[in-house]
Protein backbone atom coordinates (compact mmCIF):
# COMPACT_ATOMS: atom_id res chain seq x y z
CA UNK A 1 0.00 0.00 0.00
CA UNK A 2 1.32 3.40 -0.93
CA UNK A 3 0.87 5.98 1.75
CA UNK A 4 0.09 9.39 0.37
CA UNK A 5 1.19 12.60 1.99
CA UNK A 6 -2.39 13.72 2.25
CA UNK A 7 -3.27 10.62 4.25
CA UNK A 8 -0.43 11.18 6.73
CA UNK A 9 -1.48 14.78 7.10
CA UNK A 10 -5.05 13.76 7.79
CA UNK A 11 -4.14 11.13 10.38
CA UNK A 12 -1.51 13.20 12.15
CA UNK A 13 -3.59 16.34 11.92
CA UNK A 14 -6.68 14.83 13.53
CA UNK A 15 -4.72 13.21 16.31
CA UNK A 16 -2.84 16.43 17.00
CA UNK A 17 -6.02 18.48 16.99
CA UNK A 18 -7.73 16.14 19.43
CA UNK A 19 -4.67 16.08 21.66
CA UNK A 20 -4.48 19.87 21.66
CA UNK A 21 -8.12 20.28 22.62
CA UNK A 22 -7.75 17.70 25.40
CA UNK A 23 -4.58 19.36 26.64
CA UNK A 24 -6.34 22.72 26.75
CA UNK A 25 -9.20 21.20 28.75
CA UNK A 26 -6.75 19.61 31.17
CA UNK A 27 -4.94 22.90 31.53
CA UNK A 28 -8.14 24.63 32.56
CA UNK A 29 -9.10 21.95 35.10
CA UNK A 30 -5.58 21.89 36.49
CA UNK A 31 -5.69 25.67 36.87
CA UNK A 32 -8.84 25.41 38.94
CA UNK A 33 -7.70 22.55 41.16
CA UNK A 34 -3.91 22.90 41.53
CA UNK A 35 -3.89 25.25 44.51
CA UNK A 36 -6.55 23.32 46.32
CA UNK A 37 -4.75 19.98 45.88
CA UNK A 38 -1.46 21.45 47.07
CA UNK A 39 -3.17 22.85 50.17
CA UNK A 40 -4.79 19.50 50.96
CA UNK A 41 -1.51 17.61 50.56
CA UNK A 42 0.32 20.04 52.80
CA UNK A 43 -2.40 19.77 55.44
CA UNK A 44 -2.27 15.94 55.37
CA UNK A 45 1.50 15.84 55.77
CA UNK A 46 1.32 18.35 58.59
CA UNK A 47 -1.29 16.32 60.48
CA UNK A 48 0.80 13.15 60.17
CA UNK A 49 3.97 14.94 61.24
CA UNK A 50 2.37 16.80 64.15
CA UNK A 51 1.37 13.49 65.70
CA UNK A 52 4.97 12.50 66.37
CA UNK A 53 6.51 15.67 67.78
CA UNK A 54 6.52 17.02 71.31
CA UNK A 55 5.64 20.67 70.79
CA UNK A 56 2.28 21.56 69.36
CA UNK A 57 2.50 24.08 66.54
CA UNK A 58 5.93 22.99 65.35
CA UNK A 59 6.97 23.83 61.82
CA UNK A 60 8.32 21.33 59.35
CA UNK A 61 10.92 21.89 56.68
CA UNK A 62 11.53 19.20 54.14
CA UNK A 63 15.19 18.15 53.98
CA UNK A 64 17.12 16.59 51.20
CA UNK A 65 17.50 12.83 51.56
CA UNK A 66 21.16 11.92 51.15
CA UNK A 67 22.49 8.58 49.95
CA UNK A 68 24.08 7.97 53.34
CA UNK A 69 20.69 8.28 55.04
CA UNK A 70 18.99 5.96 52.56
CA UNK A 71 21.77 3.40 53.01
CA UNK A 72 21.60 3.65 56.79
CA UNK A 73 17.84 3.08 56.69
CA UNK A 74 18.04 0.12 54.36
CA UNK A 75 20.78 -1.43 56.53
CA UNK A 76 18.02 -1.58 59.15
CA UNK A 77 15.57 -3.04 56.60
CA UNK A 78 13.48 0.08 56.11
CA UNK A 79 12.89 2.25 53.07
CA UNK A 80 13.44 5.95 53.66
CA UNK A 81 10.82 8.20 52.05
CA UNK A 82 11.09 11.74 53.43
CA UNK A 83 12.90 13.60 56.17
CA UNK A 84 11.68 16.82 57.80
CA UNK A 85 13.45 19.16 60.12
CA UNK A 86 11.21 20.08 63.02
CA UNK A 87 11.48 23.64 64.26
CA UNK A 88 9.71 25.25 67.19
CA UNK A 89 9.91 29.00 67.75
CA UNK A 90 12.60 29.14 65.09
CA UNK A 91 14.81 26.60 66.81
CA UNK A 92 15.57 23.12 65.52
CA UNK A 93 14.12 20.65 68.01
CA UNK A 94 14.33 17.39 66.10
CA UNK A 95 13.43 15.46 62.98
CA UNK A 96 10.46 13.63 61.53
CA UNK A 97 11.15 10.72 59.21
CA UNK A 98 8.75 8.93 56.91
CA UNK A 99 9.79 5.29 56.39
CA UNK A 100 8.33 2.12 54.94
CA UNK A 101 8.97 -1.32 56.46
CA UNK A 102 7.57 -4.77 55.74
CA UNK A 103 4.80 -5.93 58.06
CA UNK A 104 2.87 -9.17 58.13
CA UNK A 105 0.63 -8.59 55.12
CA UNK A 106 2.43 -5.83 53.25
CA UNK A 107 4.30 -2.59 53.70
CA UNK A 108 3.68 -0.38 56.69
CA UNK A 109 4.26 3.32 56.08
CA UNK A 110 4.92 5.32 59.20
CA UNK A 111 6.24 8.63 60.47
CA UNK A 112 8.79 8.52 63.27
CA UNK A 113 9.71 11.61 65.22
CA UNK A 114 13.11 12.04 66.88
CA UNK A 115 14.46 14.78 69.11
CA UNK A 116 17.89 16.39 68.93
CA UNK A 117 19.39 13.59 71.03
CA UNK A 118 18.13 11.12 68.42
CA UNK A 119 15.61 9.55 70.73
CA UNK A 120 12.10 8.70 69.51
CA UNK A 121 9.40 11.28 70.24
CA UNK A 122 6.52 9.46 68.59
CA UNK A 123 5.44 6.90 66.02
CA UNK A 124 2.39 7.25 63.83
CA UNK A 125 1.17 4.86 61.13
CA UNK A 126 0.30 6.44 57.78
CA UNK A 127 -0.87 3.38 55.87
CA UNK A 128 -0.83 -0.40 56.30
CA UNK A 129 -2.43 -3.62 55.16
CA UNK A 130 -2.17 -5.62 58.39
CA UNK A 131 -4.75 -8.26 59.25
CA UNK A 132 -7.82 -6.65 60.71
CA UNK A 133 -8.32 -7.81 64.27
CA UNK A 134 -4.72 -8.94 64.78
CA UNK A 135 -2.06 -6.78 63.14
CA UNK A 136 -4.45 -3.84 63.15
CA UNK A 137 -4.17 -3.80 66.95
CA UNK A 138 -0.57 -2.68 66.54
CA UNK A 139 -1.59 -0.09 63.96
CA UNK A 140 -4.27 1.27 66.32
CA UNK A 141 -1.77 1.58 69.16
CA UNK A 142 -3.57 -0.96 71.38
CA UNK A 143 -1.90 -1.99 74.66
CA UNK A 144 0.80 -4.68 74.34
CA UNK A 145 1.19 -7.69 76.64
CA UNK A 146 2.82 -5.43 79.24
CA UNK A 147 -0.09 -2.97 79.15
CA UNK A 148 1.55 0.02 77.43
CA UNK A 149 0.16 1.21 74.11
CA UNK A 150 2.35 -0.59 71.61
CA UNK A 151 3.43 2.43 69.56
CA UNK A 152 3.98 4.66 72.60
CA UNK A 153 6.54 2.27 74.10
CA UNK A 154 9.05 3.47 71.51
CA UNK A 155 9.06 7.01 72.92
CA UNK A 156 12.40 7.82 74.49
CA UNK A 157 14.22 4.89 72.92
CA UNK A 158 17.36 5.55 70.91
CA UNK A 159 20.15 3.76 69.11
CA UNK A 160 19.40 2.43 65.65
CA UNK A 161 19.27 -1.35 65.57
CA UNK A 162 19.16 -1.66 69.36
CA UNK A 163 15.38 -2.00 69.41
CA UNK A 164 14.50 -5.69 69.40
CA UNK A 165 11.09 -7.28 69.86
CA UNK A 166 11.29 -9.65 72.80
CA UNK A 167 14.00 -7.78 74.67
CA UNK A 168 13.26 -4.04 74.89
CA UNK A 169 10.16 -3.93 72.71
CA UNK A 170 7.05 -5.85 73.80
CA UNK A 171 4.75 -7.18 71.10
CA UNK A 172 1.00 -7.61 71.13
CA UNK A 173 0.46 -11.33 71.46
CA UNK A 174 -0.56 -12.83 68.14
CA UNK A 175 0.74 -9.79 66.28
CA UNK A 176 4.46 -10.27 66.68
CA UNK A 177 5.21 -9.88 63.00
CA UNK A 178 3.35 -6.56 62.78
CA UNK A 179 5.14 -5.30 65.88
CA UNK A 180 8.44 -6.38 64.35
CA UNK A 181 7.53 -4.46 61.19
CA UNK A 182 7.00 -1.26 63.15
CA UNK A 183 10.22 -1.86 65.09
CA UNK A 184 12.12 -2.24 61.82
CA UNK A 185 10.72 1.09 60.68
CA UNK A 186 11.70 2.84 63.92
CA UNK A 187 15.22 1.39 63.74
CA UNK A 188 15.52 2.55 60.15
CA UNK A 189 14.26 6.02 60.99
CA UNK A 190 16.74 6.32 63.86
CA UNK A 191 19.53 5.16 61.55
CA UNK A 192 18.58 7.85 59.05
CA UNK A 193 18.60 10.52 61.75
CA UNK A 194 21.96 9.28 63.01
CA UNK A 195 23.32 9.50 59.48
CA UNK A 196 22.46 13.20 59.52
CA UNK A 197 25.47 13.73 61.76
Amino acid sequence: MKISGKFILKVAGTLTAISLVTAALLGIVNGITADKIAAINEENTKVALSAVVVNEGSDFKKMEVTDAMTAAASANSGKLKEVYEVTFNGETVGYAVKVVAGGSQGDIEMVVGADKDKAVTGVSIVSNAETSGIGSKVMNNDPNSAGTPVLDQFVGMSGAGSLVVGSNVTAISGATVSTKGVTKGVNAALAAVEALG
Binding site: S104, Q105, G133, I134, G166, S173, G174, V177
Partner: protein, 339 residues
Protein backbone atom coordinates in the same frame (compact mmCIF):
# COMPACT_ATOMS: atom_id res chain seq x y z
CA UNK B 1 -35.57 -42.25 48.86
CA UNK B 2 -32.41 -42.86 46.97
CA UNK B 3 -31.60 -46.40 46.03
CA UNK B 4 -27.96 -46.65 47.04
CA UNK B 5 -27.58 -50.14 45.63
CA UNK B 6 -28.20 -48.93 42.10
CA UNK B 7 -26.17 -45.73 42.24
CA UNK B 8 -23.18 -46.36 40.04
CA UNK B 9 -20.65 -44.08 38.36
CA UNK B 10 -22.26 -41.01 39.79
CA UNK B 11 -19.45 -38.52 39.33
CA UNK B 12 -16.11 -40.12 39.07
CA UNK B 13 -13.18 -38.40 37.49
CA UNK B 14 -10.90 -40.33 39.78
CA UNK B 15 -10.59 -44.00 38.99
CA UNK B 16 -10.72 -44.89 42.66
CA UNK B 17 -14.36 -44.16 43.09
CA UNK B 18 -16.29 -46.83 41.34
CA UNK B 19 -19.55 -46.82 43.18
CA UNK B 20 -21.17 -45.59 46.29
CA UNK B 21 -20.55 -48.69 48.36
CA UNK B 22 -16.79 -48.45 47.81
CA UNK B 23 -16.62 -44.82 48.84
CA UNK B 24 -18.65 -45.64 51.89
CA UNK B 25 -16.32 -48.34 53.18
CA UNK B 26 -13.25 -46.18 52.50
CA UNK B 27 -14.77 -43.24 54.35
CA UNK B 28 -15.73 -45.52 57.22
CA UNK B 29 -12.09 -46.58 57.52
CA UNK B 30 -10.97 -42.94 57.52
CA UNK B 31 -13.47 -42.16 60.28
CA UNK B 32 -12.18 -45.09 62.36
CA UNK B 33 -8.61 -43.90 61.80
CA UNK B 34 -9.50 -40.43 63.09
CA UNK B 35 -10.98 -41.69 66.37
CA UNK B 36 -7.67 -42.01 68.32
CA UNK B 37 -6.84 -38.37 67.57
CA UNK B 38 -10.33 -37.37 68.66
CA UNK B 39 -9.90 -39.26 71.91
CA UNK B 40 -6.64 -37.38 72.50
CA UNK B 41 -8.38 -34.10 71.74
CA UNK B 42 -11.03 -34.84 74.37
CA UNK B 43 -8.32 -35.77 76.88
CA UNK B 44 -6.43 -32.61 76.01
CA UNK B 45 -9.14 -29.98 75.67
CA UNK B 46 -12.22 -31.45 77.36
CA UNK B 47 -15.62 -32.54 76.11
CA UNK B 48 -15.99 -29.47 73.95
CA UNK B 49 -13.62 -31.14 71.49
CA UNK B 50 -16.21 -33.88 71.01
CA UNK B 51 -19.16 -31.49 70.83
CA UNK B 52 -17.41 -29.28 68.26
CA UNK B 53 -16.57 -32.31 66.11
CA UNK B 54 -20.09 -33.73 66.36
CA UNK B 55 -21.58 -30.35 65.50
CA UNK B 56 -19.24 -29.99 62.53
CA UNK B 57 -20.30 -33.40 61.22
CA UNK B 58 -23.96 -32.45 61.59
CA UNK B 59 -23.33 -29.17 59.71
CA UNK B 60 -21.38 -30.81 56.89
CA UNK B 61 -24.02 -33.49 56.36
CA UNK B 62 -26.75 -30.87 56.55
CA UNK B 63 -25.12 -28.71 53.85
CA UNK B 64 -24.53 -31.72 51.62
CA UNK B 65 -28.12 -32.84 52.03
CA UNK B 66 -29.48 -29.32 51.66
CA UNK B 67 -27.52 -28.57 48.48
CA UNK B 68 -28.64 -31.80 46.80
CA UNK B 69 -32.21 -31.14 47.90
CA UNK B 70 -32.27 -27.57 46.56
CA UNK B 71 -30.50 -28.43 43.31
CA UNK B 72 -32.63 -31.58 42.88
CA UNK B 73 -29.56 -33.82 42.68
CA UNK B 74 -29.48 -37.42 43.94
CA UNK B 75 -28.64 -37.61 47.64
CA UNK B 76 -25.05 -38.67 48.30
CA UNK B 77 -24.83 -38.33 52.06
CA UNK B 78 -24.81 -42.12 52.41
CA UNK B 79 -21.24 -42.22 51.09
CA UNK B 80 -20.07 -40.65 54.39
CA UNK B 81 -17.66 -38.26 52.63
CA UNK B 82 -19.43 -35.29 54.22
CA UNK B 83 -18.95 -36.87 57.63
CA UNK B 84 -15.19 -37.08 57.02
CA UNK B 85 -15.11 -33.47 55.81
CA UNK B 86 -17.02 -32.43 58.93
CA UNK B 87 -14.58 -34.20 61.26
CA UNK B 88 -11.57 -32.75 59.45
CA UNK B 89 -12.94 -29.20 59.54
CA UNK B 90 -13.38 -29.51 63.30
CA UNK B 91 -9.90 -31.03 63.66
CA UNK B 92 -8.20 -28.01 62.11
CA UNK B 93 -10.02 -25.39 64.15
CA UNK B 94 -9.24 -24.31 67.72
CA UNK B 95 -11.39 -26.03 70.31
CA UNK B 96 -12.81 -22.65 71.36
CA UNK B 97 -14.18 -21.94 67.86
CA UNK B 98 -17.79 -20.66 68.10
CA UNK B 99 -20.32 -23.13 66.73
CA UNK B 100 -21.76 -20.73 64.17
CA UNK B 101 -18.34 -20.22 62.64
CA UNK B 102 -18.01 -23.99 62.25
CA UNK B 103 -21.36 -23.92 60.45
CA UNK B 104 -19.98 -21.35 57.97
CA UNK B 105 -16.70 -23.22 57.58
CA UNK B 106 -18.60 -26.39 56.70
CA UNK B 107 -20.73 -24.41 54.26
CA UNK B 108 -17.62 -23.19 52.47
CA UNK B 109 -16.04 -26.65 52.49
CA UNK B 110 -19.05 -28.65 51.39
CA UNK B 111 -21.10 -26.28 49.24
CA UNK B 112 -18.61 -23.85 47.71
CA UNK B 113 -15.54 -26.03 47.34
CA UNK B 114 -17.06 -29.49 46.88
CA UNK B 115 -20.59 -29.30 45.50
CA UNK B 116 -20.28 -26.25 43.24
CA UNK B 117 -17.42 -28.01 41.46
CA UNK B 118 -19.55 -31.09 40.90
CA UNK B 119 -19.52 -33.00 44.18
CA UNK B 120 -17.41 -35.91 45.31
CA UNK B 121 -14.64 -36.84 42.91
CA UNK B 122 -14.63 -33.57 40.96
CA UNK B 123 -13.56 -30.87 43.42
CA UNK B 124 -10.00 -29.67 42.90
CA UNK B 125 -9.26 -28.43 46.42
CA UNK B 126 -9.40 -30.36 49.65
CA UNK B 127 -12.76 -29.21 51.09
CA UNK B 128 -11.74 -29.25 54.75
CA UNK B 129 -8.54 -27.30 54.14
CA UNK B 130 -10.30 -24.78 51.92
CA UNK B 131 -12.87 -24.39 54.69
CA UNK B 132 -10.09 -23.70 57.13
CA UNK B 133 -8.44 -21.19 54.79
CA UNK B 134 -11.78 -19.37 54.46
CA UNK B 135 -12.31 -19.36 58.23
CA UNK B 136 -8.80 -18.07 58.82
CA UNK B 137 -9.37 -15.25 56.33
CA UNK B 138 -12.77 -14.46 57.88
CA UNK B 139 -12.18 -14.80 61.59
CA UNK B 140 -8.45 -14.55 62.16
CA UNK B 141 -8.87 -13.77 65.85
CA UNK B 142 -11.05 -16.78 66.65
CA UNK B 143 -8.89 -19.03 64.49
CA UNK B 144 -5.76 -18.17 66.45
CA UNK B 145 -7.30 -18.45 69.91
CA UNK B 146 -5.59 -21.60 71.12
CA UNK B 147 -6.69 -23.24 74.33
CA UNK B 148 -3.80 -24.46 76.46
CA UNK B 149 -3.53 -28.24 76.85
CA UNK B 150 -5.34 -29.47 79.93
CA UNK B 151 -7.84 -26.61 79.91
CA UNK B 152 -11.46 -27.56 79.89
CA UNK B 153 -13.39 -25.34 77.51
CA UNK B 154 -17.07 -25.10 78.39
CA UNK B 155 -19.30 -26.90 75.90
CA UNK B 156 -21.50 -23.84 75.77
CA UNK B 157 -20.53 -20.33 76.62
CA UNK B 158 -17.82 -17.85 75.98
CA UNK B 159 -14.36 -18.89 74.93
CA UNK B 160 -12.79 -15.69 76.23
CA UNK B 161 -12.01 -17.02 79.70
CA UNK B 162 -10.13 -20.08 78.44
CA UNK B 163 -6.44 -20.05 79.24
CA UNK B 164 -4.72 -19.54 75.92
CA UNK B 165 -1.29 -20.48 74.77
CA UNK B 166 0.91 -19.96 71.77
CA UNK B 167 1.21 -22.98 69.51
CA UNK B 168 4.66 -24.57 69.20
CA UNK B 169 4.84 -23.25 65.66
CA UNK B 170 4.05 -19.69 66.78
CA UNK B 171 6.77 -19.88 69.44
CA UNK B 172 9.21 -21.05 66.79
CA UNK B 173 8.07 -18.28 64.43
CA UNK B 174 9.08 -15.71 66.99
CA UNK B 175 12.56 -16.91 66.27
CA UNK B 176 13.32 -18.51 69.59
CA UNK B 177 13.86 -22.23 69.31
CA UNK B 178 15.14 -22.53 72.87
CA UNK B 179 11.89 -21.00 74.15
CA UNK B 180 10.08 -23.84 72.43
CA UNK B 181 12.26 -26.55 73.91
CA UNK B 182 11.73 -24.96 77.32
CA UNK B 183 7.95 -24.88 76.90
CA UNK B 184 7.40 -28.38 75.56
CA UNK B 185 9.51 -31.53 75.56
CA UNK B 186 9.78 -33.70 72.46
CA UNK B 187 7.62 -36.21 74.32
CA UNK B 188 4.89 -33.60 74.86
CA UNK B 189 5.01 -32.81 71.17
CA UNK B 190 4.74 -36.46 70.19
CA UNK B 191 1.90 -37.33 72.56
CA UNK B 192 0.18 -34.04 71.81
CA UNK B 193 0.15 -32.20 75.14
CA UNK B 194 0.57 -28.85 73.38
CA UNK B 195 -1.62 -26.01 72.20
CA UNK B 196 -3.03 -26.10 68.71
CA UNK B 197 -5.97 -27.05 66.59
CA UNK B 198 -8.38 -29.57 68.03
CA UNK B 199 -7.18 -32.70 66.26
CA UNK B 200 -3.70 -31.83 65.07
CA UNK B 201 -1.70 -31.90 68.29
CA UNK B 202 -1.10 -35.60 68.81
CA UNK B 203 1.42 -36.98 66.32
CA UNK B 204 1.21 -40.34 68.08
CA UNK B 205 -2.54 -40.80 67.65
CA UNK B 206 -2.44 -39.55 64.07
CA UNK B 207 0.34 -41.99 63.21
CA UNK B 208 -1.72 -44.74 64.78
CA UNK B 209 -4.63 -43.80 62.51
CA UNK B 210 -2.26 -43.59 59.56
CA UNK B 211 -0.97 -47.09 60.26
CA UNK B 212 -4.54 -48.40 60.30
CA UNK B 213 -5.23 -46.78 56.93
CA UNK B 214 -2.04 -48.28 55.50
CA UNK B 215 -2.94 -51.75 56.74
CA UNK B 216 -6.44 -51.41 55.30
CA UNK B 217 -4.81 -50.19 52.06
CA UNK B 218 -6.97 -47.06 52.10
CA UNK B 219 -3.92 -44.87 51.57
CA UNK B 220 -0.53 -45.70 50.10
CA UNK B 221 2.70 -44.74 51.84
CA UNK B 222 3.97 -42.61 48.97
CA UNK B 223 2.52 -39.19 49.73
CA UNK B 224 2.93 -39.16 53.54
CA UNK B 225 6.47 -40.54 53.41
CA UNK B 226 7.54 -38.12 50.67
CA UNK B 227 5.92 -35.24 52.56
CA UNK B 228 7.32 -36.04 56.00
CA UNK B 229 10.69 -37.05 54.53
CA UNK B 230 11.10 -33.76 52.70
CA UNK B 231 10.30 -31.78 55.83
CA UNK B 232 12.69 -33.91 57.88
CA UNK B 233 15.59 -33.52 55.46
CA UNK B 234 15.05 -29.78 55.03
CA UNK B 235 14.92 -29.28 58.79
CA UNK B 236 18.08 -31.32 59.33
CA UNK B 237 20.06 -29.17 56.94
CA UNK B 238 18.53 -25.85 57.95
CA UNK B 239 18.48 -26.08 61.74
CA UNK B 240 19.20 -22.70 63.36
CA UNK B 241 22.63 -22.15 64.86
CA UNK B 242 22.99 -23.52 68.35
CA UNK B 243 20.09 -25.96 68.05
CA UNK B 244 20.46 -29.70 67.83
CA UNK B 245 19.51 -30.54 64.23
CA UNK B 246 17.72 -33.76 65.17
CA UNK B 247 15.72 -32.10 67.94
CA UNK B 248 14.82 -29.28 65.59
CA UNK B 249 13.64 -31.79 63.01
CA UNK B 250 11.51 -33.70 65.54
CA UNK B 251 9.82 -30.53 66.78
CA UNK B 252 9.05 -29.59 63.20
CA UNK B 253 7.69 -33.03 62.36
CA UNK B 254 5.46 -33.30 65.44
CA UNK B 255 4.44 -29.66 65.53
CA UNK B 256 1.53 -27.95 63.84
CA UNK B 257 -0.77 -29.74 61.46
CA UNK B 258 1.94 -31.66 59.63
CA UNK B 259 0.93 -35.19 60.67
CA UNK B 260 -2.77 -34.55 60.17
CA UNK B 261 -2.11 -32.95 56.80
CA UNK B 262 0.36 -35.55 55.54
CA UNK B 263 -1.70 -38.57 56.57
CA UNK B 264 -5.30 -37.48 56.13
CA UNK B 265 -5.35 -34.54 53.73
CA UNK B 266 -2.51 -34.87 51.24
CA UNK B 267 -3.76 -38.39 50.58
CA UNK B 268 -7.28 -37.30 49.60
CA UNK B 269 -8.08 -39.30 46.43
CA UNK B 270 -9.82 -36.55 44.53
CA UNK B 271 -7.31 -33.81 45.02
CA UNK B 272 -4.00 -35.68 44.81
CA UNK B 273 -2.34 -37.39 41.83
CA UNK B 274 -3.37 -40.86 40.74
CA UNK B 275 0.04 -42.36 40.00
CA UNK B 276 2.61 -43.36 42.62
CA UNK B 277 5.43 -41.21 41.15
CA UNK B 278 2.96 -38.35 40.94
CA UNK B 279 2.10 -38.80 44.61
CA UNK B 280 5.77 -38.69 45.54
CA UNK B 281 6.27 -35.44 43.63
CA UNK B 282 3.10 -34.14 45.27
CA UNK B 283 4.45 -35.02 48.72
CA UNK B 284 7.83 -33.44 48.06
CA UNK B 285 6.12 -30.27 46.82
CA UNK B 286 4.00 -30.10 49.98
CA UNK B 287 7.10 -30.62 52.13
CA UNK B 288 9.07 -27.87 50.41
CA UNK B 289 6.21 -25.38 50.63
CA UNK B 290 5.51 -26.23 54.28
CA UNK B 291 9.14 -25.62 55.24
CA UNK B 292 9.31 -22.41 53.21
CA UNK B 293 6.14 -20.98 54.72
CA UNK B 294 7.15 -21.97 58.27
CA UNK B 295 10.62 -20.52 57.85
CA UNK B 296 10.12 -17.46 55.66
CA UNK B 297 6.39 -16.75 55.56
CA UNK B 298 4.49 -14.50 57.90
CA UNK B 299 2.28 -17.37 59.11
CA UNK B 300 3.66 -19.72 61.76
CA UNK B 301 2.12 -22.75 60.07
CA UNK B 302 2.18 -23.73 56.40
CA UNK B 303 0.59 -27.16 56.06
CA UNK B 304 -2.85 -25.92 55.05
CA UNK B 305 -1.64 -23.61 52.31
CA UNK B 306 1.01 -25.99 50.97
CA UNK B 307 -1.50 -28.79 50.46
CA UNK B 308 -3.98 -26.37 48.88
CA UNK B 309 -1.31 -25.05 46.52
CA UNK B 310 -0.21 -28.55 45.57
CA UNK B 311 -3.87 -29.51 45.05
CA UNK B 312 -3.86 -26.97 42.22
CA UNK B 313 -0.97 -28.81 40.54
CA UNK B 314 -2.62 -32.22 40.65
CA UNK B 315 -3.97 -32.03 37.10
CA UNK B 316 -0.46 -31.20 35.88
CA UNK B 317 1.14 -34.08 37.77
CA UNK B 318 -1.54 -36.41 36.44
CA UNK B 319 -0.95 -35.18 32.91
CA UNK B 320 2.83 -35.53 32.77
CA UNK B 321 3.56 -38.33 35.19
CA UNK B 322 1.87 -41.37 33.69
CA UNK B 323 2.56 -45.02 34.03
CA UNK B 324 4.10 -46.64 30.97
CA UNK B 325 1.78 -48.88 29.08
CA UNK B 326 2.55 -52.51 29.77
CA UNK B 327 3.90 -54.38 26.75
CA UNK B 328 3.95 -51.43 24.39
CA UNK B 329 7.09 -50.79 22.29
CA UNK B 330 9.33 -48.01 23.54
CA UNK B 331 8.33 -45.42 20.99
CA UNK B 332 4.66 -45.92 21.52
CA UNK B 333 5.21 -45.67 25.23
CA UNK B 334 6.71 -42.25 24.75
CA UNK B 335 3.90 -41.14 22.51
CA UNK B 336 1.33 -42.43 24.94
CA UNK B 337 3.02 -40.59 27.74
CA UNK B 338 3.12 -37.38 25.74
CA UNK B 339 -0.58 -37.48 24.96
Amino acid sequence: MTDYKNLKLMASSSPHIRNNEDTRSIMLDVIIALIPALAMAVYNFGWRALSVTAWSVICAVFWEWGYCKVMKKPQMIGDLSAVVTGILVAFICPVTMPYWMILLGDFFAVVVVKQLYGGIGTNFLNPALAGRAALLACYATAMTHWGAPGTRAAIFGSAADVVTTATPMAIMKEGDFSALTDAFTVGDMFIGKVGGSLGETSAMMLLLGGAYLLVRKVISWHTPVAYLGTVAVLCLISAPAGANAVTYMLYNLFGGGLMLGAIFMATDYTTSPVTKPGQIVFGIGCGLLTCFIRRFGSYPEGVCYSILIMNCTTWLLDKYIRPTIYGAPKKEKKEAAAK
